[in-house]
Symmetry: C2
Subunit: 275 residues, 2 copies
């Protein structure tokens, strides 16, 4: 039975698709069979990455691991009950198609929808990326302005609790909810400390744990059009001869990027098993 | 008649709320009466900022300019036509309430909705923030993988065109669509050049112009809980005595942040008129 990793948050642009892409590629590099599901088919960042990767592999002749991919569009039915039945059916079909995978990585949109809630319900591990910003904290809870206490859980936290309760009532394991600080600055001190202290306070109240963070690095986005990640890069990026090879400084950021993704996999507890 | 500035994009987390906040405060500092409308009331970042600002002004005794604010919830009616009539009515009420303002700044969610489309229809100027990333370019157009040509406009570009057409057919001025590069890195070179070249290509095809960019600066987010921006900061931030005052290095980032916001207002062409 595949282990399902969902990347979700109602806050936009925190790095959901970027995280889903890097986890999927990292698991494939370890030799696992990986399925990917895009529940944000309108924007389709994950689907575009998978397409770019397949097309680049074909064009360049490079042997690249490819995930088995399914994108689920929102239903066009205007009557709510019919739309929900349509979405539930198509999502179930996708999980059935991917039943032979070791892992399934699911990307979700930065907004609330029935399809998105269904996706959260299937999460063995839920990863919620967060920027180091008070604007992002609001997706977890409303904080008292003096920042000393949680006034109320957010609508998103309530959504996760609700899906978790449904799993537990049905005798399934609870969601392992992991908050991932993303796009960490390399130098900022005070703001990071304040956010870190707030997250510690929230972790107990809201019921999540935190993973080691991921820094702001251009390598996490610059090879998107070729469907490549830092995990693919030790080899020469096609189109660059030895003379255009990166300076040592760049490869140290690549190495650090690879380590951050590996630390994330370890924090989720996925390193234990080999395929 | 108020001049309406809408900040929109279907791509999440590009800095829509951050941009709306800074434009609103900058216009208030110039002495204009400013209304703010939050069409993303579920997440409510702009509404939280306005609340935080009012509460901090009260608590600290500081005289801070405050906008006249309205948040518009999505309709709960399950039948589509009824929901749309409800949303259109409440949005019109909000514009009527703010009719005595010089400017109205509208923040929108990072997803498609009827309310969001209505908001775009009212835009005299539409500002679309964008991160310097190939993941963000997809919100404007699907690009041929070799990055040399536009394969198709995105669903969001088509949405803007559609709203623009409706305005023109009704004899109203077209939308002035401005793309704002946001969270610019301070050092990255190659990635920025590639994005910049792509945007130049897209500007003609899709029909927008670009404004000078805004850099990644912690000052754009660190005082959110007090409802303050870099534009408010030259005075001592309450709670910090002279001995804890910022080092000179921090104030140079504040000064640069203020300049970037002023450059943005100038690029929109708002500097011409005083209240
Ligand atoms: N660690 C990182 N370093 C550098 N850039 C990053 C990093 N993580 C994400 N980004 C960039 O931040 C932006 C947002 O990331 P992404 O699109 O993955 O977020 P998302 O949560 O999937 O957004 P949406 O809500 O639109 O689905 C993109 O431009 C992406 O390239
Ligand atoms: N120029 C900047 N410098 C530093 N941080 C920034 C800047 N602009 C935005 N941010 C941060 O980036 C994140 C996204 O910004 P913001 O929430 O304003 O985007 P948004 O487009 O409104 O997101 P959503 O799609 O969720 O509505 C926030 O954490 C914010 O603090
Ligand atoms: Mg995404
Ligand atoms: Mg926002």
């Amino acid at each position: 039975v595949p282990y399902i990793i969902v990347v979700g948050s109602e806050k936009g642009g925190t790095g959901k698709s970027t995280t889903a892409i890097h986890i999927a590629v990292a698991l494939m590099k370890l030799g696992f069979r990986v399925g990917t599901i895009d529940l944000d088919a309108r924007q389709g960042t994950l689907s575009a990455f998978v397409r770019n990767r397949a097309s680049y592999a074909e064009q360049s002749g490079r042997r690249l691991e490819l995930s088995k991919h399914r994108a689920i569009e929102r239903s066009k039915a205007s009557e709510r009950a019919a739309a929900e039945a349509d979405e539930a059916g198509r999502l179930q079909d996708a999980f059935d198609d991917l039943a032979d995978c070791h892992f399934i990585v699911v990307d979700t949109p930065g907004s609330d929808s029935y399809l998105c809630r269904l996706g959260h319900n299937r999460a063995d591990t839920l990863i919620t990326p967060l920027n180091d910003s008070f604007l992002d904290i609001g997706v977890l809870a409303q904080i008292n302005r003096e920042r000393r206490e949680v006034e109320a859980p957010s609508v998103y936290s309530q959504l996760v609790w609700e899906q978790n309760n449904q799993r537990v009532v049905a005798g399934r394991p609870p969601i392992d909810w992991v908050i991932l600080r993303n796009r960490l600055a390399h130098i900022e001190a005070r703001n990071m400390r304040e956010i870190s202290a707030l997250l510690d306070l929230l972790a107990k109240r809201i019921g999540f744990r935190t993973a080691p963070g991921i820094s702001e690095r251009v390598v996490f986005r610059e090879h998107f059009m070729k469907g490549l990640t830092a995990l693919d890069l030790p080899e020469q990026v096609a189109g660059q001869g030895p003379s255009q090879a990166r300076g040592p400084a760049e490869s140290s950021s690549h190495a650090a990027a690879r380590r951050e993704i590996q630390d994330l996999l370890a924090a989720i507890g996925l390193f234990a098993s080999e395929p």
